[in-house]
Amino acid sequence: MASALLQVAPQAHVEVNAELCKGCDLCVVVCPQQNLRLSDRFNRMGYHPVEFDVHGRKGDCTACGLCYWACPDFAIVSVERRRQ
């Protein structure tokens, strides 16, 4: 039961303010789990903002915060570990 819950409810979450993002790629390349990628859409500044996906190519987000430290634009608004 518990393991089933964990699978549907992620442990951690990164919130991005897409309007502040300049699509510089820094958070994308520092994310150990590869949970971030540049979106195909444009934000108001004309950049492809970054998008968060809990399921990365190497695993789920662990709320390590590296994306937050790497971001030069205040665009990583929060990195939270969520209790289920």
Partner: protein
């Protein structure tokens, strides 16, 4: 729930010192990262009401747009003198500036070295991206030999322009400073393809905190942040990070060159 939180500042949240204005910095620029770290460090020590920032000239000229602090604009290179005037009038204030390498190491070298030599209790962060960013990519005193800029179109040559200036070493050669450090600030390439480490930002956060600690203990603090300027280097953001790791990191080695108060030992 927030992973870990201070009473006022979230560990991974926007700083209360940030005005909320998006920065004018180019994508991937370390100026933005440093602005973020300073906002965080000042909020941590709840210093907004006792801080005066001096805006320098260069890409950091709009710092007061992003940091919700009292601010005084200095002429190009003169920030250390303006900071000294403020600090001597109000020793209880925390006074700092973000200068570029053109501002601090070229036009303002006299003001920097004399403030350092007197050991003025102020904090200076120098962003060294080895080029003039704001004016569009001219050669700086810190430009590596061979680098092509708009004013060294054949690449910087030693007979013509001399060697890149090591500002941090120069500052550390004086008796006055209490805390002198150089941080390799950009994200750094790792052996894994397309994976970079963010050690520079974490190290930078510690350096910013210690540079303010040193001032509060009555000392002069100077931290150089070796950085990139992808736009004026005419590279992609990530190629600029790779170039910095390859060329600037050996030229401007990281390290703590002065730590009079033993801040790094704690």
């Amino acid at each position: 729930m927030i992973a870990a939180s201070a009473p006022r500042e979230a560990k991974f949240g926007p700083s209360s010192i940030w005005t909320g204005t998006p920065t004018h910095y180019c994508a991937g620029c370390e100026h933005g990262t440093l602005t973020h770290l300073i906002a965080k460090a000042l909020a941590e020590r709840d210093a907004r009401e006792r801080t005066v920032m001096v805006s320098s000239v260069g890409c950091s000229v709009f710092a007061h747009e992003y940091l919700d602090l009292d601010s005084v604009q200095a002429p190009h290179g003169r920030a250390p003198a303006v900071m000294t005037g403020i600090k001597r009038a109000h020793p209880e204030l925390l006074v700092f500036s973000v200068q570029g390498d053109g501002d601090a190491a070229s036009i303002g070298l006299l003001e920097l070295l004399h403030a350092a030599n007197r050991g003025e209790p102020i904090t200076i962060f120098m962003v060294n991206n080895a080029i003039y960013g704001m004016t569009g990519g001219q050669m700086a005193p810190t430009t590596p030999v061979g680098m092509v800029t708009t004013t060294s179109p054949e690449g910087r040559s030693v007979p013509q322009a001399g060697y890149p200036l090591d500002t941090t070493k120069l500052v550390a050669s004086l008796e006055g400073p209490a805390y002198v450090r150089r941080v390799f600030f950009p994200i750094s390439p790792t052996p894994a393809p397309d994976f970079f480490n963010a050690r520079g930002a974490l190290e930078g956060m510690q350096a910013v905190r210690h540079a303010f600690d040193a001032q509060e203990k009555g000392g002069f603090a100077f931290v150089e942040f070796v950085s990139t300027c992808s736009v004026n280097w005419k590279m992609s953001v990530l190629d600029a990070k790779r170039y910095a790791a390859q060329v600037l990191a050996p030229l401007f080695p990281s390290g703590v060159l002065r730590d009079r108060f033993g801040l790094e030992r704690r």
